[in-house]
Symmetry: C2
């Protein structure tokens, strides 16, 4: 990765939206997706940010993502619904699933939206946080193509299946967002490019032999976080999201960077739990905020970084945000290339 | 631990129930608790089995557990309820929470029972499995006294907070049951007794220094599984179970083996999700069973044990069960001692 530059977020957002519109996305869907991507970059989650956009554009052009789809409710049981995402942009259909879950939780006390035929939605935490900002507890998960073996296995059988849980505090929600592998694929790629080794327990070769060689790891399989625990949670995300939505599980889900003409076929589960009624939401928020503060101020280990609770790092990034967003040079270059190809004007602020 | 003996499970169950009745438990609550404890021993989960009974008896006698309590519904919002367990036997009040969740999920599609003032309920998986055997998805969690520090912390701030998820397959459910520490406290105690060291990443001294010394670990703190991931999940169990029930979170929960006159003060969350309606439950079960089989038959790593999915080990133990149950000599000795103290007859099959 060459050095990152810093660019006005609003310019990046309009530029990303223009690129999406150039391949046929309606303005509303383009704007929402662009905002979600730039938001991930602002939060420091580059892997869910604008670096995804070229793949999205290619998939729209190849027909595996339908930029006009907003998801169709195909089952409605009040507190439980199935949304067929119709291979729409994931940021659009997951946002819709959240809106439905929030409204139905207000009505029924708890609501589940199972989503099938979904494309990549970016960071699960974004959607859980949205539900928490509405004063409810949000739980969001998605399945990916198989990336992790079972304990004792040599072959990837379950996805890296992100799970996010967010609770309201009155201020910034507590937002947990975890994938089920011990180490992130992005960090392994980075180690490979730098010729560095990876920590023990992160990967196996395709033959099932543990490896600390990043290149071997890329050809092999990631290992689940905490062995049977991460594996078991990944399996349950598959069986909750894919299972309840009657969508894909396991190898039904396609690689994100695979055949771009083939639908991704992921499934999501979005749950909202109303707090009010069980207890006043303000009481809940006081307890959650107080508990988080108690943890932040707990006794530190010698020489350790400040103690954080889940979501603090993203919240700090949002707090530091001054209108400019860091972007890797490669990412901007790739976007400029797409713009030239699609005849989209490159804003002056983004150079040429 | 001296060698375990093997004893008729029905005799053990009646004996355990008689001990509970001797300290005032009504016959129904005594029988249910005894059955749950022996069932854990049959499944090979000795830490949730009869070895817990002496502590239960002492707590009943000291007044911190009310053996007659069955839990009182204090909030009823249809799909969401709060059960005040009234410090009843955990196996009794969690069973009741499951029954309510199953019935309400059938009515509302999804149901949540938040439980406060709860005592130890044994294995969370037992209750999630019960819900799955009723054809629904079961999610069960509980908080414990703080046992794990935050990443970078030296002080325990969140519990080891078990989380269980079970899904129906038509046959034996898939049952995931995990606690949030990297290693089990029981295994660390065992290592201490044997003078063995423990794996890296399991524990820290009270000063926040990593240790592989089992005795230091017992005096220090356990570490969360997969660092921030296990910690974050533990925090969320506290905020879901303790938070939604308006019960205890963090250090509100007391040590299981602490002051036996002080209520344990745990909280549970029991959720049941109806599958039927979203899709035929038989279809769901076919997908879940097929996916589990696909995983069991996936390519093995060289020299590894057979590949299992969560719940397989307990299911195998139940299959092997021939009416006799293995029990550590210390556990039986402790029960005999209680029997002599309470004037309960020791069955011939259990020696004297």
């Amino acid at each position: 990765m060459s050095a990152a530059g810093s660019y006005p977020a609003d310019v990046l957002e309009r530029f990303a939206a223009a690129l999406l519109e150039a391949v046929g996305a309606p303005p509303g869907n383009a704007a929402l997706t662009a905002e979600a991507l730039v938001d991930a970059d602002i939060e420091g989650l580059a892997s869910h940010g604008l670096m995804q956009l070229p793949n999205y554009l290619e998939r729209i052009e190849r027909g595996s993502v339908d930029p006009a789809a907003e998801g169709e409710i195909v089952v409605d049981k009040g507190a439980r619904l199935t949304l067929d995402a119709g291979n729409g942009l994931g940021q659009v259909t997951a946002e819709r699933a959240c809106d439905i879950a929030i409204a139905r939780a207000a009505e029924h006390g708890v609501a589940i939206v199972a989503v099938r035929n979904a494309f990549h939605f970016g960071a699960a935490g974004r959607f859980a946080r949205k539900i928490a900002l509405a004063g409810k507890i949000g739980i969001v998960m998605a399945n990916t193509r198989p990336m992790l073996p079972a304990p004792g296995g040599a072959e990837a059988v379950v996805g890296n299946n992100p799970l996010a849980i967010a609770v309201p505090t009155g201020g910034e929600p507590i937002v947990l967002d975890l994938a089920m592998s011990a180490g992130a694929l992005g960090k392994i790629r980075l180690a490979m490019n730098k010729g560095e080794s990876i920590p023990e327990g992160w990967a196996q070769t395709g033959e099932g032999v543990p490896t600390r060689d990043a290149a071997e790891a890329i050809k092999g399989v990631l290992l689940p976080a905490a062995g049977a625990k991460g594996f078991g949670l990944a399996l349950m995300v598959d069986l909750l999201a894919g299972g309840l939505s009657a969508g894909g599980v396991g190898s039904d889900v396609q690689p994100l960077y695979g055949d771009s003409s083939r639908p991704y076929g992921s499934a999501n589960l979005v749950m909202a739990i109303e707090i009010e009624g069980l207890r006043p939401v303000a009481d809940y928020e006081t307890v959650a905020a107080g508990f988080a503060d108690r943890i932040r101020h707990s006794k530190p280990a010698p020489g350790a970084a400040p103690i954080r609770v889940p979501g603090d790092r993203a919240a700090e990034a949002r707090k530091r945000f001054d209108g400019n967003c860091a972007l890797a040079a490669e990412t901007l270059q790739a976007l400029r290339k797409q713009a030239r190809r699609l005849g989209v004007a490159i804003p002056d602020a983004l150079g040429d």
